[in-house]
């Protein structure tokens, strides 16, 4: 483990990722920017698509990214790996409070999670909490075990990424 750089420029902090109980996943991280800015980067497609898919994942691209971030609005993300097949994640925004919180469904799964992201002002910085709750312990278990099954090995990385995205924004 290296030391925490807690000043100037690149604040190197790790996201905290944990399971709560048997149906919830919680990710938290502080950003050196006000909530309005973090919210903007999360809710505008052109910005969002620049960070949601990590660059370290080669061979996969975000083919389309439509986010209609308002209560009742819909989103749809499609990932591709070069071929004509894409994998889509989509759902509906259940609640949107600008600069504060976004709640959405993950409808590509029958028992998809409901995801809530909140942006909390901490003296000009933002504490971001990403929280997803599955309808049942079994559904989380399936996200954990099931989605990873049965893909050719060369697609392993894509599959892993998408499996993680599935419950994520999916």
């Amino acid at each position: 483990m290296n030391q925490q750089a807690n000043s100037a420029g690149g604040t190197q902090n790790r996201a905290s990722v944990e399971r709560q109980g048997d149906r919830e996943l919680v990710v938290t991280r502080t950003f050196d920017a006000p909530p309005s800015m973090v919210y903007k980067a999360w809710s505008q497609s052109e910005l969002f698509r620049r960070w949601w898919l990590p660059k370290s994942v080669s061979g996969v691209s975000l083919v389309s990214c439509d986010l209609d971030v308002r209560t009742g609005g819909k989103y749809r993300l499609e990932f591709g790996a070069g071929g004509s097949d894409t994998m889509a994640f989509y759902g509906k925004y259940l609640e949107v409070v600008p600069n504060e919180r976004i709640v959405w469904t993950n409808d590509e799964e029958e028992e998809g999670a409901v995801t809530t992201v909140t942006f909390e002002d901490q003296g000009g910085k933002t504490l971001l909490t990403f929280h997803e709750i599955y309808p049942s312990a079994e559904a989380l278990e399936e996200a954990l075990q099931g989605s990873a099954a049965g893909l050719p090995e060369q697609l392993d990385q894509l599959e892993q990424l998408l499996a993680d995205m599935g419950p994520g924004l999916s």
């Binding site: 399971r19 990403f130 099954a149 090995e153």
Partner: protein, 118 residues
């Protein structure tokens, strides 16, 4: 940490795809049990239960130990390890995402200080 390949997960998935086997795992979460106790609990023949336990065992979800004439089943370490791997993948994913988001935020701040955007 152990690598979990698609094949491994496939075995787990097959093992978990059956209601009785999921029930057995739930049961073993509460307490270890002998095969005959499980057979009785799930209204099943000893042979039938042995088969299910065998599948769970091959998936690493259950381990068994024979002491005298009784074979005792307990949860394997595998379930927990798979969960740890899942958390670790999320950790890497979110760290990568959020580092990229940091960059975008600092860009936005610079643009903001030039002030001409809406």
């Amino acid at each position: 940490m152990v690598q979990y390949t698609a094949a491994h997960l496939d075995t787990s998935f097959t093992a978990l795809a059956d209601a009785t086997r999921r029930g057995v795992l739930e049961q073993l979460e509460r307490a270890d049990a002998s095969i005959s106790a499980l057979a009785e609990k799930f209204h099943m023949t000893l042979t039938g239960m042995k088969k299910h336990v065998g599948i769970l065992e091959r998936a690493g979800l259950v381990t068994t130990e024979k002491v005298g004439r009784v074979r005792t089943c307990r949860l394997g370490a595998r379930g927990l390890a798979a969960e740890a791997a899942w958390i670790e993948r999320h950790q890497r994913l979110w760290d990568a995402r959020f580092d990229a988001l940091d960059e975008i935020l600092s860009e936005m701040k610079q643009e903001g200080s030039d002030e001409s955007t809406s």
